[in-house]
């Protein structure tokens, strides 16, 4: 064992204890000089040292959304996912348990899985034919007489030590200890319940395949924009006008919709006040219950007419689960921070068990609006890239996130809310970001 390894502090996260990518110890980032009141210093988006610290303090520590159980429906199914820059293999073992494994052979570091998805009981490293079960355990060496007396239990694949799932959404934490997923989600968990409520069977299916949209911009521009209700009227005016969409009005100055900060960095654009004012089932989706007769019948059978009507009036949430799961009414985005200026938005249509007629429309709408050529997301992504370049201009150094400070208030659940166009979400995100970055 080298001197460097033997002096590793015992508090290192397991990814490093397992011999994973050794991050250089990060010098403390001086946050007092870069975060004040409603101002954020531009360098917090563009400084590579800040990104390196974020990997250690956020991406490789807190709960990060990885994948959905419907992506590995059968025993021995697997799918390649990620936590920030780290490739992660999500597997379901023979007994049905979901594992998150790191794609690195413990022998000489070769990648063991090169297939985006499939069904496999074992993964064999092609370099020297070490073989691993889909729960990560080493099951066989090639030419085993060379390893006489070796403890095979010490040579499994690296793993994400904590894996928890909520309503089929699988999260992983690379820290061996920390708050539970339930504590992390807090009040935002009810938004995932509301997503599942839109299925007559209470379950979503993320099986339509992902688009991968890359931007040359910091991940936090994407994170903050997801619940920024100030930009749609401007950035998306072209498609709202061309498609004669009523969505723009939801984000107008007279909108009754709300921005909400659930705490722990989770934020929401709550459009229910507008949809309730409209009071039309499926109005949130720009259609009517009459045009989706099968779906409506199944919803009424599942929930009873009254509750089904309420679900179909309220629509599906627009919620950003910190740091990387964004649900936007009809689709799911997974944000992947790969470098300080390299972010990938993985996006797919929400699909609901027991709702084929709705699902078809959800896929069509998703393909039109998001991904590299999307009517909406191509313009958002243009803003991310321009903003990333913009904050590197020397003056005025600070971003101002004070919109709506004078009219924010606590809702009945104690969550901060304000007007649809106010910057409550950004302020909540930065407050949580700071607490994570300052944690020991």
């Amino acid at each position: 064992m080298s001197a460097a390894q033997s002096t590793m502090p015992p508090t290192m996260p397991p990814i490093m204890q397992g011999g994973g990518p050794a991050l250089a110890p990060q010098p403390a980032i001086d946050l007092d000089s870069r975060l004040r009141d409603d101002h954020v210093h531009g360098s917090l988006y563009s400084d590579p040292a800040v990104f390196a610290a974020e990997l250690e303090k956020i991406w490789y520590r807190t709960w990060v959304y990885v994948g959905h159980e419907s992506e590995v429906p059968q025993p021995d199914d697997f799918v390649m996912k990620s936590i920030g820059p780290q490739p992660v293999i999500m597997t379901r073992d023979r007994a049905g348990k979901v594992h998150l494994l790191l794609n690195r052979c413990p022998h000489r570091g070769n990648q063991v899985c090169m297939t985006p998805k499939g069904n496999a009981r074992t993964f064999t490293c092609p370099f020297h034919k070490w073989t691993f079960a889909n729960d990560g355990k080493l099951t066989a060496f090639a030419f085993p007489d060379g390893y006489e007396g070796q403890d095979m239990g010490a040579l499994g694949l690296g793993r994400v030590p904590r894996v928890e799932s909520y309503r089929g959404f699988v999260f992983g934490s690379l820290a061996a200890e920390g708050p539970s997923l339930a504590a992390h989600l807090g009040g935002a968990a009810q938004t995932l319940d509301r997503v599942c409520d839109a299925s007559p069977e209470g379950e979503v299916d993320l099986t339509a395949g992902f688009l991968q949209h890359r931007v040359k911009a910091n991940w936090k521009f994407v994170l903050e924009n997801e619940t920024d209700g100030y930009h749609p009227a401007f950035v998306h005016a072209s498609i709202f006008n061309v498609a004669e969409s009523g969505i723009g009005a939801l984000y107008g100055p007279r909108s009754t919709a709300l921005t909400r900060d659930f705490g722990n960095g989770h934020t929401e654009l709550d459009l229910r006040p507008e949809f309730r004012r409209l009071d039309k089932p499926m109005g949130w989706f720009g259609t009517t219950a009459e045009r989706l007769p099968d779906y409506t019948a199944r919803m009424e059978a599942a929930y009873g007419p009254e509750r089904a009507r309420r679900i179909m009036v309220d629509g599906v949430p627009h919620v950003m689960i910190f740091p990387n799961l964004f649900i936007a009414e009809i689709q799911v985005f997974v944000l992947q921070a790969r470098a300080v200026d390299d972010t990938v938005q993985h996006v797919t249509a929400l699909q609901y068990k027991g709702a084929p007629d709705l699902n078809r429309r959800l896929r069509q709408q998703t393909m039109g609006s998001v991904g590299p050529a999307g009517f909406l997301l191509a313009d958002d992504s243009e803003m991310y890239e321009r903003t990333h370049r913009g904050v590197q201009s020397l003056q005025p150094e600070w971003l101002f996130l004070g919109r709506g400070r004078h009219r924010e208030r606590l809702d009945e659940d104690g969550h901060m809310v304000a007007h649809a166009t106010d910057e409550v979400p950004s302020r909540g995100i930065w407050r949580h970001w700071r607490s994570l970055m300052e944690a020991a």
Binding site: G209, S238, M367, G371, P372, D379, E382
Partner: protein
Amino acid sequence: MPAAAQVAVAARTCPSGGVDPALQRRLEAFIHHEARLQDEHDYAAWEELWTDDAIYWVPANADDIDPEREMSIIYDNRSRIGVRVRQLLSGKRFTQEPASRLRHLVTNIEIDTVTPGAGGTVEYAIGCNVLVFESNTRGETLWGARTEYRLRDSGGDLRMVRKKVALVNLDRPLFTLSFLI
């Protein structure tokens, strides 16, 4: 053998012939014309090239996905092609304001089949390789693709019934693709 294949005339371009050189030149000229309209952002003229039953398809993840079941980067019917063009013409499609500078290079054009269509029309299935060099405010991006056309000839009037652009890197994260590919 399926009925459609029986009526199709196998016509893959090859050294031993099989395609009338005048037809080959005419179809190539159409494809070059379409590429120039895209390069020069002549959106209205480009939209005129499509038939009413057109499909413009840029698959994601694999060449052979089922676009009715799985996500594609673009899967536009004629109506949505119109929306795409009107958004580009709005002056507020910010990702194309300023517009990308573009050059399509189209090569290896092969006519695969010549098929009689309805009402005395003829349809041509054509494959080609495409490289697009894009320069915009982000930087320079090279896009490579296998493009398949289905062109309909109605009494001398050629239009696109279907265009499938299978990007070489369709299974990787892609930068914004907001020009007409």
